[in-house]
């Protein structure tokens, strides 16, 4: 693999534009926009404070830079470099900021999750949404950008509100049967909303767009539950990764489990190809991902080279027993991703192994190729 020269980056803020033409990276308080092919600097913007979060708008015309400490959001235009926009939350504070799917509204979450302010770049209107829930993934937009699902907590109960993004009208509001809602996510077809509970309780609820509960799924009780959730691109499958090291796949017809994939510590099936990451140079700082860093987006501290070599089966993977008396143990399926063609499912099992499962073999023993870092 060829790497370009190393560019400075702070806080791992480096994003490609949605249309793939530009690359935005942040260095302290400066925002640098480069052309993807030539890596030439096209624009350079200076913000008022150190940037904590940068995000492209969906049409790749604007970038927002959020500075949480100062409660500021600055928006830059790519087409008109002299255009500027600054949103100051003032005393309300700023905890999170994101674009709406139409690229013309910015949703700012104020401190203590008091409210979400919807600032419009087209009109002078401002909308407020009260009491969003402070959880891992409390906001979810549908893929076509029509609806926003927001997790709220009122009267010690979890609720979900569905807004229409075009005019920010409330469409539906319903309560969920969760103890402590941890996350929500729309299916890619925009008709089903997956809601999952805190890790203390394994519960995955599926709601229809109009707020009806379609199904509830619970694999087991008492042990730590759901860690990560992913929809397949065709909305036919919902993969649920849990702390017990298993991925369970639900189907969209009956919302029952059709298969589950385990992540055993030893790999013995000779059909599985195992890639082992071997580092050439010792790492200076540990990254969290098991993949090699993408081009020009390497972490500032890590300058290692690594390559993948094929390990011969049987391979016993290193397992770390997590400390039992600490919260958020490093076990379980931390991340899930479906391939865009619906064919493969990649899972990241803590610590440090990534497995790929083809759904075709769901009926047989789960096989797949895996990579792991020793």
């Amino acid at each position: 693999m060829n790497f370009s020269e190393v560019f400075k980056l702070s806080s791992l803020l480096c994003k490609f534009s949605p249309d793939g033409k530009y690359l935005a990276s942040c260095v302290q308080y400066r925002l640098v926009v480069r052309d993807v092919n030539t890596l030439q600097v096209l624009q350079l913007y200076t913000c008022l404070d150190q940037i904590q979060h940068a995000e492209w708008s969906a049409d790749s015309r604007f970038i927002l830079c959020a500075m949480y400490k100062r409660g500021l959001v600055q928006v830059w235009s790519l087409e008109q470099p002299e255009w500027h926009c600054r949103i100051d939350e003032g005393s309300a504070g700023l905890v999170a900021s994101c674009w709406s799917p139409d690229g013309r509204h910015i949703l700012n979450t104020t401190e203590f999750h008091l409210r979400i302010t919807v600032w419009s770049l087209c009109t002078k209107s401002v909308s407020y949404i009260k009491y969003p829930k402070a959880c891992q993934q409390g906001i979810s937009f549908t893929r076509d950008g029509r609806y926003l699902a927001l997790a709220e907590r009122r009267d010690c109960k979890d609720h979900v509100s569905i807004f229409v993004c075009s005019d920010w009208q409330l469409l539906r509001h319903f309560d969920t049967e969760t103890q402590d809602l941890a996350g929500i996510e729309w299916a890619p077809n925009g008709c089903v909303l997956a809601v999952w509970d805190t890790c203390l309780e394994y519960k995955v609820l599926l709601y229809s767009l109009d707020g009806r509960l379609l199904s509830a799924y619970c694999a087991y009780e008492w042990s730590l539950g759901v860690k990560s959730v992913a929809w397949s691109p065709s909305s036919q499958f919902l993969a649920v990764g849990s702390y017990d090291g298993k991925v369970r796949i639900l189907n969209h017809v009956t919302w029952k489990m059709i298969t589950e994939f385990g992540h055993p510590a030893t790999v013995t099936n000779p059909k599985i190809v195992v890639y082992k990451e071997a580092e050439k140079n010792p790492r200076l700082a540990l990254g969290r991902l098991a993949f090699p860093p993408p081009r020009a987006a390497a972490g500032a501290a890590s300058s290692t080279e690594s390559k993948y070599e094929i390990a011969s089966v049987p391979v016993s993977l290193q397992t770390l027993k997590p400390v039992a008396d600490r919260a958020n143990p490093k076990v379980g399926i931390g991340a899930l991703a479906f391939s865009p063609d619906n064919y493969f499912l990649a899972t990241r099992n803590e610590p440090g192994t990534c497995r790929i499962f083809p759904p075709q073999t769901a009926s047989r023993m789960p096989s797949g190729s895996g990579t792991y870092r020793s």
Partner: protein, 617 residues
């Protein structure tokens, strides 16, 4: 009768002491007493009896003893010993008969008693042994009883202990359960407590949030603002619309409508997908069914001879299924009955197929064991025949190979020197002989050619001479003519000169033809012929090889033919007689000819020329 009382006779007292003893000691029945006395009296029979007998009756007390005996006997029921008394005062006389009878009776009685005694004794013994035996048994049983009692006590003791243990364990279990319950209760209570606390804290937090929110909202910070250079157009390029009261509701409804539309679209899409899948699966099932039916039907033809039940059902099933197929294709809807029919028919077919396969398996196994099955026998026969054929072929081939090998060996090894020398060229012998023949032929031909050549050259020489003469004649004739003519015209003197030169040259040429063979341009036909002749003469002295010879012969023949051709039109002019005869032959010679053609033509022409030359004047 009561106790045996001593007869008040003091004399008998000592002897009856025994009796007294017995009577005083035991109170028995008279019969037993009597038997005892009999016993004791019968045993020591020898001495005491005599003494007893003598003691009872002496000579003094005969009357008394008789009266006593009579009393006793009558009391026992015996008849009296006295005769019948005639009077009361007279002494009764002893009835001897009665006495004897009584004695006999007494003896009989004695014997009976003895027998009885024996019996009784034996019985007594038996009883005694029985008693012993029973006593032993009793003792044993007593022992057993004791031991079993002891065992039972032991077991009871164990049982008791186990029950104690059991109770203890139950107790423990109960304790544990209680503890668990308690802990669960504790947990539950704690959970509720925590929940309650959480809720309380959350409420507090919410209150704080509210307060903060109010503060934030109220402050209306100037800072909280958005500063934009200019507002950006909407993403979809449309303009914003006014928001009036009416439109709020319509917006809401519109949103609802859109939402439901989206949901419905999604459901419809999914349903379509599922229907498509169903249709495909149904198609696949129907195909499977058809194939299964077709699979089963040709096999039914053969075993129709064997009237199996299954085949009959199969046939009927096939017909049924054919009917069903048509029916199903008509009703290609997903109604319950059609679906059920399809699945049932497929299941039926599958069962039939399975049974068929099992049958075949059985048949195969049977064949392995017995081999009486018709189909397999036939195939085996064929198989055997084929194998036999193949084996025969193999044998034949092998034999052929062997013979060939032998021959080769013979050829290779078994040869003498003579034979080797002979055989060395044996393959080429034929060819050699052929070649020899051909050589001889060639030599003959060569000779012939030589002869002909010579004759040809002579003819050519002669021809040349004749031509010369002819030319001279012609020249003279022409001269004369011209002289006749040129008397009128002096201008033609050049022509004359030319002509004279022409004729002279021809003469010269003809003269020099043998001495100096030179190639000149043919000044006409005659020179050409002369040149050809010179060529011929030139070529002749060279010693040709066969091929060259042939070639030159060919070219010579050609030339000769040409020359002959050239000559003969002139010759035929004067000689018109042979012209007709010659023309067909010339045509032969002039045709596109091979060597032989030319040769033959040549020879012919030669002969003709010979002939003609003869004819020429």
């Amino acid at each position: 009768m009561g106790e045996w009382m001593t007869v008040t006779d003091p004399h008998l007292s000592s002897e009856s002491k025994n009796i007294c003893q017995y009577t005083s000691e035991t109170k028995m029945s008279p019969s037993s007493l009597y038997s005892q006395q009999v016993l004791c009296s019968s045993i020591p029979l020898s001495k005491n009896v005599h003494s007893f007998f003598s003691a009872f009756c002496t000579e003094e007390n005969i009357e008394q003893s008789i009266s006593y005996l009579d009393q006793e006997l009558t009391t026992f029921g015996f008849p009296s010993l006295y005769e019948e008394s005639k009077g009361k005062d007279t002494k009764r006389e002893l009835n001897i008969v009665a006495v004897l009878n009584c004695m006999n009776e007494l003896l009989v009685l004695q014997r009976k008693n003895l027998l009885a005694q024996e019996n009784v004794e034996t019985q007594n013994l038996k009883l005694g042994s029985d008693m012993d035996h029973l006593q032993n048994c009793y003792a044993k049983l007593k022992e057993q009883l004791e031991t079993s009692r002891r065992e039972m006590i032991g077991l009871q003791e164990r049982d008791r202990q186990l029950q104690c243990k059991n109770r203890n364990l139950h107790q423990l279990l109960k304790n544990e359960k209680d503890e668990v319950q308690k802990l669960q209760n504790i947990i539950a209570s704690r959970a509720t407590q925590y929940n309650h606390d959480m809720k309380r804290k959350e409420r507090e937090y919410n209150k704080l949030k509210e307060r903060l929110h109010q503060l934030v909202m109220n402050k209306k910070d100037k800072k909280i603002a958005m500063e934009v250079l200019n507002y950006v157009g909407r993403a979809d390029g449309k303009r914003g619309s006014w928001r009036t009261g009416k439109t709020e509701a319509s917006f809401f409804l519109r949103n609802e409508d859109e939402m439901y539309k989206i949901l419905l679209n999604d459901y419809e899409y999914r349903q379509k997908q599922i229907l498509m899948e169903n249709a495909e699966l149904k198609k696949v099932l129907q195909q499977m069914k058809k194939e299964m039916i077709s699979l089963l039907s040709p096999q039914k033809q053969k075993p129709r001879e064997r009237a199996d039940d299954s085949t009959g059902t199969v046939i009927s099933d096939a017909e049924e299924d054919a009917g069903e197929l048509s029916r199903e294709s008509m009703w290609d809807l997903s109604c319950e009955t059609v679906r059920e029919q399809l699945t049932n028919s497929i299941r039926k077919q599958w069962r039939i197929l399975k049974s068929h396969v099992e049958k075949l398996d059985n048949q195969v196994s049977k064949v392995h064991l017995e081999g009486f099955n018709d189909e397999d026998v036939i195939s085996r026969q064929d198989h055997e025949q084929e194998t036999e054929k193949l084996e025969l072929e193999i044998q034949q081939c092998k034999e052929m190979i062997k013979t060939q090998q032998q021959l080769l060996q013979q050829l290779a090894t078994a040869c003498d020197d003579d034979t080797t020398s002979l055989l060395r060229d044996c393959y080429l012998l034929e060819e050699k002989e052929r070649l020899k023949e051909e050589w001889s032929l060639f030599k003959e031909q060569k000779k012939n050619f030589e002869k002909e050549r010579r004759s040809f050259t002579e003819a050519a020489i002669r021809l040349g001479l004749e031509r010369k003469a002819f030319e001279e004649e012609r020249a003279s004739w022409l001269k004369q003519q011209f002289l006749n003519m040129t008397t009128f015209d002096h201008q033609n003197s050049e022509n004359m000169k030319l002509f004279s030169a022409f004729s002279g040259s021809s003469d010269r040429d003809s003269l020099t033809v043998h001495s100096r063979p030179r190639q000149k341009k043919p000044h006409g036909v005659s020179n050409g012929s002369l040149v050809c002749a010179s060529k011929l003469t030139k070529s002749l002295p060279a010693s040709p090889s066969t091929s060259d010879f042939c070639q030159t012969r060919s070219c010579a023949s050609e030339h000769s033919s040409i020359s002959v051709l050239n000559i003969t039109p002139e010759e035929t002019k004067p000689n018109q007689v042979g012209g007709e005869g010659a023309s067909p032959k010339w045509s032969m010679a002039s045709g596109p000819g091979s060597q032989e053609g030319c040769y033959s033509g040549c020879s012919l022409t030669h002969t003709n020329s010979h002939v003609e030359k003869d004819d020429l004047p």
